[in-house]
Structures are given as C-alpha cells and as structure tokens.
Subunit: 293 residues, 6 copies
C-alpha cells in the first residue's frame, strides 16, 4: 500500500516561466527515458518479483521514489506554463513572438489541461506502457533499469543545459544525482549476485543443449566491399566476458538455404495466377515488348 | 547500402507445424524483446553515430545481421502455419480441438496474411518504433543494447522450452548463441572504453555543477511501517561503483514543500467555483447533512 | 512524496490458479476501465490542480489509494499464473486442454514476464496514457472520474461473475465496494460545488457571446424515413437541466451550405487533371462506352 | 443506413486563414475531447444497445449528428490552411515569421494532405479507437458521454478564446451550444431512468454478495505527515448519495499482508541466483567492502 | 450533414452464434483492411477534396455507404455473441470446451461491452486513425482506396470461408459484392482522368528538374551471390508504363560515399571517450588479451 | 541474409543545415508514406511469399534497396541538425528566432538523440508496424505497394519543394526517380499476370457463390436532397472494368430491417432499468414536466 505527504521530494522553483521548456520537460515525464517509465517499471518488477525478497523490497522502494519524481516534473511543467499565451489576437497574428511561443508549445497544455502537465513526451505522444520491462529474470531487468537510468540521466543533463532558469537547474541537478545513484544501484545488484561475468550470458539458467555454442563468441561481419575496414576490438579476440569462450571474427555467411514455402492454399484466396503459375505472363510480356502477344 | 543473397543465416525447419507456436514466435519478431527492435535500434544507432567510426561500423554490421534474424523468424512462422485450420465447419463447431486451435491462433495469420508472419508480438500488437533507443551517448546505448539482448535471450530460451519440434529447437539454439555473443559484444565496448566504472555515471561528460552530488550515492528508502525490513546490500554501503563516493542509506524525506500553483486563469475556463472559492459549498454540505441549507 | 509499506490494501488469495482468469484480470490493470488509468488520472488531476486546495488533497489521496489497487491486481495475476503450462509437449499437442489453456493465455505472461502481470489489457494491448483526463475544469474532471469508476465497477462485477475462486471473489468484492465509494465521491464534489444543475453547462465560466443559445436546448433528430419512431423523453420537452431553457425536438436540417475549398495550389502536387478540370475525362468515358473516343 | 446531403450543419467561414489555428482545431477533430470520439462512441453504443429501443434511437440520432460536426471541423481546418507557407526559401530562412509559421504548423498539413485535415489531435497524434466507450451499461455510458461533452465544451470554449476570426468564433459558438445540449441530454436519461441516486452505484444490478459494503462509504485517506490537513466534505459525512449508507473518513490502513509469490519455476529461466538464494552474494559484498572475499 | 434511417443496408442473420467468429469479424470492423478505415478514409478525402466537385461527391457518397457497413458488422458481432459463456464455473474449469470458447474470445466482448462489438481488430487492437490516407492527390488516393478494397475483399472472402453460418455467408456475399464495385469504382476514376498511364508517375505535376530520370526506369537489384537468379519481367525491359522511358535492370551499386557526421557537440553529452577518441581503448584491449595493459 | 557496404546509395549533402527541415524529412523516414514502411512491407511480403518464386525475389530485392533509403534519409536528418540550437539562453529567451527554431524542431532531435534521426514522422509520432501490408494475395499487395509509392512520391516532391538546399534537392530528385520506378514496377506485375482487368475483382479466386453479383456493379448513392447533383462517370455506366458486368447507379435503399438485439443478459450487469423496461421512466418525465410524479 502507498501513502503520500503532499510535499515535493525536492523543491521546484521556476523564475522565468517558459512554455517551450514546459514542452521539453514533458520528455522527462512521458518520454521513453522519463519518470513514468521507471516508476511503472520498478513497481511492476517489484510486484512480479519471485526469488529473494530483498530485491522486491529494493524495487518497491525505488519505484515509490519515482512517483515523487513524476510529481516534481508535473509541478515544474505547470509552473512553466503560468503566463503562457492563450490567444491569437489580431496584433499577435502579426507578432512573430506570440505565434512563435504558441507554435512551439504543446497546444494541449492550453487546450486540454488549462496549463497543466500531460503524461506525454516532448512531442505530445502519450506514454505507452509497452515500455515497462519486467522479464522475471533479475539480471535482464537490472540491465533494462540501467539503460533507463542512463538514457534518463542523458536527458536530464540536456534539459539542464537547455534552460537558464536557476530554479529549474537546481531541480534538475537533484534529478541528475538520483539518476547517478540509480544507475549504480542496479549495477551493484549484478555485483552482489556474484559479479557481472557470472551473470552472463543472461539467462544463466538455460540448459547447455539449448545453445549452439560454436556461434556464441564469433563476431559475424556481414559488411562487404573493397573499402570495408576490418573490425578489431575487445569483442573480436581475447577471452569472452563470461570466461567460457574465446572471441573471434568471421565474415558472415549463410548456414541455411533459400526458404521455400508451400504454395498458397485455396482457402488463402491468393490470386489464381499465384496458385497456377500464371501462363498468361509470357504473353503479357511479349505484348509489352511489341511482340505478337 | 544493403545487399541480400536470399538465403537464411541458419536453417529453419519445422517438423510439426503448430499455429499456436507460430503465434508465440511472433513475440521474437515484433515483441519489445524481439528482432525488429534490435535490427532497427542498431541501424539507427549506426546511422546517427558520432565519434569513433569503429562503433558505427560495428553497429552497422550487427544491425545488418539482425535483419537476417527477422527473416529466419518470419520463415519459421510461415512454416508453422502450414496446415492450420481455416474453417469453423459444422462438425468443428462441436469439436473443441479445432475451435481451440483457431481460438489460440493469431487470427490475422489467416485473415490478414493468408498464413504468413506479421510485424506484431504474440498478442497481435504491432511493433511500435518508440522502442528504438539511439541516444547519441555510446554507453547509454550499449546498456540499452545489453538489455535488449538479455530480454531477447530470455525470450528465446522460453520459446526453446515451449516447443518440442526438433527443427525449431535447432533454430532457436542458434539464436540463443547469437544473443550470447551480442550481450557480450556491447559490454565489451564498455570495457574497451576504459572499463565500466570509468563510464559511470552516464553521461560522464556533464559538468560538475549540474549535479547535487550529496544525493548521488544515497539510497533513499520511502518504505514505512513497523515490519519493514531495512535494506542492506552492495548499494547501501561501501565505495560507489564509479569510485567517486560512498554508498549510504537513509529514510526518504521531502526536501521540498507542498507545491502551490496559481489559481486558474480566466482563459482556462475552469468552473467559476474553482476561481472564486465557491461559497456555495457550505450550504450544499449543510443541506446534505440535514441542516438548514 | 510517496511512501509504501509493502502490504496489500486487501488480502489477495487464489485457491485455484487459472491463467485465463489471469488474462481477464489484466483488463482491470491495463484496460481503459482499469486501475492504472484512475491512478494516473487522479494523480495528474491533483498535480495540475488550480483553485481550492481541498480538491488537490482529495485527488492526491484517492490517486494514492489506486496505486495500491494496481498492486493488488498485479499480485492476483501472478498468483493465477502459478502452475500455468509452459510447454507444448508431444502429448500436449494432441491434448486439447493444454493447447486450450496456452491458447487462451496472454502468452506474454510466460514469454515476457515469467509468470507475472503486465500493464496491458485482457487482449494484451498496453495501456496508453492518452486516457488520462485532467482538463483543468473540476466539473469536467469529476464526470470523467465518475465515468471511469462506473465502467470500472461494471468490469469488476463481470470479473466477480466470471470466476468461482473464493479468494478472487473476496478481493473483487472489496474492489467493487471501493468503486461504489469513488463514484459517489466525485458526484459529491459536484453537489458540494452547488449542485449539478449549477455546474451546467460545463464549463460554467464561458462568456455568453461564446454560445448560440438558440441551439442549446434542441434535440436535432437526423433520423429519416417513414418508420422512424419520433423521440420523446426528458430531453425533448420540459425545462432544461440547467434551468436556463426549455427542451424541444426538431428534425435536423443544415444551417450551412455545401463547402467549397479553393483549388489545389501547385505546391500541393495534386494531379494535373485536378488542377485543370481534366478535359481528357470525356474522351475516356466515351471510349469506355464504345464511342469514338 | 446513412444518408448525406453534402451541406454543413452550420456555416463555416474563415476570414483570416491561420495554419496554427488549423493545428489547434485538430484537437476538436482527433483529440480525446473531440468529435470523432463522440461520433464513434454514440454510434457504437447505439449499435450494441440492448434493452429499451428508445435509447438506441437517441444514440443513433446524436451519433449521426456528430458525423456532421467532424465534417464542419475538417472544413474549417482546410480553410485555415489556404495560403499557408510551403517553402523555406533562402530569404525565409532568415525570416523568423515564415519559419515560425511552418514550425508551428502540423507539417503533415502540407506534407501528407496538401492542405487538408487529418484525423489527429493538435500534436499530430492520430486518434485511437480505444477511447470509444460502450460498456453495455446505460448509466455508465451516459456518464462517459457527459464526460466527453464536458471536456469537449471546455475545449471548444478555449478554441473560441484562442481565435479572433469572426467566422471561426461563429462556428464554435454553434458547437458550444450543441455541447450544452448533449451534456444535458445524457444527464436527462439518468433522470428519466428514475433519478441519478437510483442509478447508483453503477451497475445497480450486481448481487449484494458481490460487494463488501463495509468499505463502500468510507473515504480512506492514505495521506500522512504532521502537516496534512484532514479532509472534510460532502463525501466524508452525511448520507451517501445512493441513500444506502453514511459517509465516513478513516486513515487508510492495509487489510492485507505482504504478498508472497512462489519462487521462479525453472521454465521461467530466471537467473540461477534467483532460484537458489545466491550464496555468492555475501562474498561479493565482502569483496566490495574490502573484506576477504 | 448526415441522416440515418435505422435500417441495415443488408440483412444480418446469425443462426448459430459463435463468439470466435465474432472475434474474427472484428477484423472487418477495426482491422486495417476493415470498414472503419474505408469509411473514415473516403470521408476525409471528400472533406479535403480540392479540384473537380464530382470527386468530392463520389467520395462522400461511398464514405456514407461505408458507415452502414460498420453498422452491419457491429450488429453481426453482437448477434454472434448471444449465448456466449460468461463464467468459469467449477465444472467448466475442467471442461475444455468452455475454457476453449472463452480463451478464443475477445474477452472485452464480455468484460468491456457486455456482448457488443468494439472498434478493434481480431486481436483486440484498437483501430488507429493513422491508416486514413487522404493525400490531396487524387490518383494516389485512388490507389490507396483500391488497396483498401482489395485487402478488404480478400478479408471478407476469408471470413466467408471461415464460417458455415448461412446468415453470415449471406451477409458477407453482399459485402464481397460491394468490395467488387468499390475496387472498380476507384480504378474507373483513373481511367476517366485519361487512363492510368497518363496518371503516371504520381504525382504527374512535379517539375522535370525534381527528378533524376536516369534512375526512373532501372530495376536496381541488390541481390548478390552465385545462386541468385537474375530477374526478368515486364519491369526489366520494354517501354515503361508511363511511355516515357525504357525499363532496364542493373546490379545495385552505391552512387554515394560513406557518410561522415560531425563529432558530438559538447551539448549532446555523449561519453567523453566519444568526443576525444578515447586513448584508453588500446590499454583495455591489451589488458584483455593478457598484455601489459 | 543481408550484407552492407557502409556507403550511401546516393550522395547526401546538406549545405545549409536546417532543423525544421530535419523534422520535415522525418515524415519520409517514419511517416505512413515513408521508407521504413515500404522497407518492412516489401520484406514481409517477400518472406511470406507463396507461389512463383520470381515475386519473392523481386520483393526481396526492392525491400533491400529500401533499407538504403532509410539510411540516406537518416543521414540527411543528422546533417540538417548540425549547428542546431540547444539552449534557451537569457538573450535567446527574448530572441524570437532561437525560440522559433527550437519551437519548430522535433525536440527529441536534441533531447533524445543528441542530433540524430528517429523512426518517427514529422510530428514525432513513432512508426507503427500495423502499416505493413502483406496479405498473401499478390494483386492486393501490388496495389498496396503502388499506393505506398504514390503517396511516397507526392511526399518526396513536397519535400523537394519545401527546401532550397541544393544538396537536399539533389538527393530528393534521386528518391523521386526511384519512386517512379517502383510505382511502375508493381503495376507491371499486374500487367504481367495477365492485365489488371483479369486480376479483378481481387481476389479473383473466390467461388461464385460467395458473391451476390447483383450488387457488384451498382453505384449506390446515399446522397439525398433537392440540390444533390446526380453522379455520372465511368463507374455509373458502361462495361465494368473486369468485363463481367455493366455499371449502373441507383439511390441507396436499405435491403435489411432495423436490427433487434436480445435484451441484456443478467451476467452483463446492465442497469436494472435496461432489463426491466424501467417503469420509473414515466414518473420521472411527468415530474420534470411539472406533473404529479
């Protein structure tokens, strides 16, 4: 169960409201790198957690913190919208600035909410819950969480750079710090589980016969052409990261043949010519080429 | 530019076509853990790559390999659909098995494609390109790629377990091996860049003043109640993974106050009572309670 | 800020796990009538609340309760999935029951989560945040909330009817009770604001000149034909509900003319024939009819 | 069956075409508060209507009227686009106004339609039919309809305020009037059915044993903290609106326990450490803290 | 403006209601090949029509007919749902047939609508208005319409084959006939405009300098490998269909170079190593290979 | 299997980077008329091809070419973003131009990608794979392909017109040429199959009894009113295009009756009044009208 105290986790001040920055902040609310995503992702991971209870607890804790991050950002959007233009007056129609501000706004910030935040990204695309990863495999989920916090911290840094409002910079510097913590927290779980090498490959519980290991440590390179620079890196030679193989690199070649599907069944209602081989084709071609048809 | 040879990267055989397994395989085509996602993700990361060319090259190579994985899976779906039922004949209406097979199918496999694959997941939800992560930050992208390959390999293993068709098990054992390689490949980039600690926090290029570091290594625990088990783990004590701080744990407390938004502007067309404080409220309440109104 | 105690708001027991019921329950998690929707809707209404603080407080309180409802349902889904089939063994391929259960499942419950809930509806369609209504107008939002709780309680009742598991029936009877309360709670706000008539029309703050009131109380009936039964109801005669007019009914007639758009501009790159009136048309028609062409 | 006369229900004039206003108008076409939504919602409610025929008739009538509203708005968008810029000429690249108008446009209004409307909202997000509510319960649907017309009228009023074009203001004043009527019309159905109290709770047909009524009239308040202002309102005391209970308010407490899911099944392919309790954890932690490992 | 008479365009009878067929029929309502799509597509093409009025009229007429097709199908779904199971009783839990029917249903047909149609496809995915094509170019739109009616008629034929209900077969035979008409109708417009050759390429109004015509009639074949069968068809030789060129076939080769993007700007917050060329890479690689590091 | 050479199919130069044009170009990447769509559509048609192998080969070839088109456009977007503004500095806040450029940008081009392309359209809406048509019927697919290339060429021409950058105009002139070829290529298949008349109606393999041919060649006109201009065109008279009938035109009339659904079942939990005929209605109406109630 959940409780609220109505206060913000960190102070949210806006000195110079800016409707365009309100729109930009939406990316941190409803973008794929945003806070609704991590809030829901950690909560669903907690609620579906099987295995050691300590990970359920940790996920629940951080998922709960993230609700407060959405709250902070929604507040920041509302404050950035105060004073936003709401009309295309006749003079404004000739004033590029009003048009420009309105044109750059998420118009739903006026039309749909009366100057409040939406659960959308910076382009006004609503957040879609398919982005909530909760795989039932702890290591896979931890990497999904690191990815979310890494892209999230990149986003927060860009927002920090975009604005020159001291209040917004202050709030974002808090968010950036929390993203730092959360990145490390999920990686620390991997270390705690025995180190990330021991966790590889993920899942580390699949039976040996489920993998053709002769293909497990080869970089297949499907690039062709005289100018192609051969690849050489940590992933083309040396021991594999899981300690079970040796990396190598090979030109990609097909191990399979051309696929051959059965002809269309009558119930599929393909064209008759697909089913029969369409003898009419030759004639059509001849005709087109000026032949006798 | 791209080229094709029409052959499959690995052989795709189906001994006992099964329309339900065809539906399950769709998750590996159009699911968020699937091959369209990694194909598009690596290609977009390559096409937007800025910085050392070797990463563009590697991303392009592996993105190109993934197109062939979609090809293999689409072929596997089509082969699993051969012989699928296409009618609810009178006898079938009483035969649970035909109904059951049709009911368990992705009906679009008959209705929309005439027994071919779709770019959808196992529930028939079309893939949505918002899942393509290409952040411009190499480390963030590498973690997104590891997450994709980790959830992808979990999925492939579950599919391998689900089926007992030898041909499908063979194909999936190849896919599982490639996911092993790709997981390590992206992690190897982090190692190559100087080790994953050096990459933390991501981005590692934000200026110091953009982060309130006193919040960067603290686990804030918003869990309350007498029974709550305190958290203790790698992420609550010891040096931080980036070597720049020391982990600690604290009960979460608000650093901010209750937010206060300005009253509705007239142009927002809130209810009059929102704007005036609605003196009518008291009377309504009294009336409801049997008072004088 | 938010807090959690890790306990369920109400007990969640499943005596006879049923993967099909797990799928049905998803509608109450990620369906448009479900709990993620009300949770996010009330929280966003709270975070964007302008005007009397008491409504922000109430919305925040109930939004916080709803997080716990998602938690209960996610737990119920996970418990219903315990023991679910995860394989199409050779014998099973001939056993309709295993196929049937797998076919009726949300396959992502195995493939994507390893037997946990997803933020999707009963068809596996992920919840989309466009369903979060927070208009900035309190009365409009209250009606949106009543609608959500009314469809939500209909859904919960149908789920209660669908299952015969005593634990599930018990949990749903709690949910149904909470939906009862929440329906009334939002209507009570309208009463508190002065009664629902006084709130009509919504918004009640638009200026008189913004409405052609001669069209405000007429039921325009565009139904035609000899058999059409004329409408007569509370909305065709008698005083209007806002006390400002008298209902009437009229056959719908156009007050406007046929619209006429300008011809295509060259920069629109319509077909030349669209721009010129295509004199070739007559010839083509004649030719088709066997004329001289 | 449906018929058309090609005329507009109300006249649509645009004196000063404005591409930004065209984009804003899209919210009334393809937004969640818009006309496609109500058109499809009322038609689907009509087509699925079970019970008294008069409601099917009424829904069909008003659904048919709404098609004409989409027609009016699509015409208004097309007229607002006439004269819109379609080029970034060299001089324009330095002229903020052209950039500004193009930047504020829905670019698909030029690129995809050649100056016509789209079934999208003001941010260019296409309308998604999941917003069509037709629950089979008349009262639930009526509230969904009121909610749609209430948010719709708020939107129309904001659009009326946004523009200063006399033709557009005239058209919107007609739309606002129709929204007035439709709000009342759906509420009048509730009155006609016996009054809204008698309709509560919705559905009013569920059996008594399906509800734990001890939770049906209590406001559970999960807000905590010394500063929290206790809630007092129509919904915390006095008779419930359905006349069957008495409102009260209580601090929210959990009635359930901590949930406990079964451990991962092998077929779920969690990490081995999840399944075994991972004894390696302690060592890892010791190592991290500088212990013996 | 639009009118309705409440009657079905063609009779809709269901002798043996079948919830699985109800789900299949949904593809014809809310699928991409379905009736909502053509209804909205033709209406939006009509409402945005610029140029000869006769095409607006025709599009409006057929768009209006299509509303009646949605009505017929929605009725057919509702009738197929009558008698559908709504409970998982104890006995049913062991009866594969009930589970099978429920498992094969769109569960929202019970849970969300109480046995009525939804604007979704056969997988329960709601229709998304991005499928409405109205390009402003008449020929492009006509081809989009033919495509819609062609896939629509394939779908209707498959549905006709799937069912053995005489009433449903009767209704679908009407739909199939209408799809025949509509396919030809849109092609007839192309003929009327001067013949389809004259309409090519679409748009036929772009200026000559906007096209590098040396690439306009060549089939570039990017297939490689010893086994590749060379292509020969109507499109590799002979006069082009627009009469302006001669088809040929060539192996695809790049006309461009490798792309080179600028390095990351500091404000993009890439990793430092991306911006500097990361001299640490060599050491990491050496270390991995057992060298001196 | 697929291969890449890292080169662009055609050269991509940008002389004057323009972030607004970068946003416009996105329509050609992730719009419904764009290159991701055709790439995936042709590849899925190839992978599901049943019948003559030559069509699989051709589809595979052109699908492979289209990957290179996405590559070119993604490169063009990245180049147009170089130099884009990334900050709202104090001075900029007063400079309309910076606001204007930022306001007109896809903000995700900075916030989410660090100046790279996204798989989205010009409004930032991610591409959705439901647009991939692969019906299993060759003729239906060919028309879907023509429609895609026709709308695609209209789009490319509008982009060509929009920009004045010589490099961009050069690249688009190549794209326009390829769209010319691809339009004709798919139409040539129809000719090769025996001519488009022989392919009509699509599918041409459905059994005669599946069609009520008396409705197959009639234009039903549901337009009414004194002013309605009767339709006359190639589709209202003369031989049908498939040579099997004669076109005619008739006023649309219903061939069916009013639909009548069964009353709500108890398990649907409609309102009691829906199930009983609600005798309370009359009283409510009387009361409203001032009667005795």
């Amino acid at each position: 169960m959940f409780y609220a105290d109505g206060k913000l986790q960190y102070k949210v001040r806006v000195e110079k409201p800016n409707p365009l920055f309100a729109r930009a902040l939406q990316q941190a609310i409803g973008g794929v790198e945003g806070e609704i995503r991590v809030m829901m992702q950690y909560l669903f991971q907690a609620w579906g957690a099987r295995g050691p209870k300590k990970y359920r607890d940790m996920l629940l804790a951080t998922g709960t913190e993230e609700i407060a991050h959405v709250e902070m950002l929604a507040t920041a959007v509302a404050l950035n919208l105060e004073g936003a233009p709401t009309a295309l007056q006749e003079e404004a129609a000739r004033d590029p600035l009003v048009h420009c501000i309105l044109g750059g706004m998420n118009l739903r910030h006026y039309l749909s909410t009366g100057l409040g935040a939406t659960p959308e990204n910076a382009n006004g695309v609503p957040f879609n819950m398919s982005h909530v990863y909760a795989s039932g495999n702890l290591a896979a989920d931890m990497y999904a969480n690191v990815a979310a916090e890494a892209t999230g911290r990149v986003l927060a840094t860009r927002l920090w750079h975009l604005t020159d409002d001291p209040g917004m910079k202050d709030m974002l510097a808090f968010n950036i710090a929390r993203d730092t913590m959360h990145q490390q927290q999920w990686l620390a779980v991997l270390e705690e589980l025995g180190g990330y090498e021991a966790q590889l490959p993920i899942p580390n519980s699949n039976p040996p016969q489920s993998e053709h290991t002769e293909h497990s440590y080869v970089f297949y390179d499907p690039r062709i052409g005289a100018d192609v620079v051969p690849l050489a890196g940590r992933y083309t030679q040396g021991p594999s990261l899981d300690g079970k193989g040796e990396f190598s690199v090979e030109a990609a070649v097909p191990f399979g043949e051309e696929p051959m599907l059965a002809p269309p069944v009558p119930a599929g209602f393909a064209q008759q010519e697909q089913m029969t081989g369409h003898t009419g084709m030759l004639g059509a071609l001849k005709h087109a080429l000026g032949g006798e048809g």
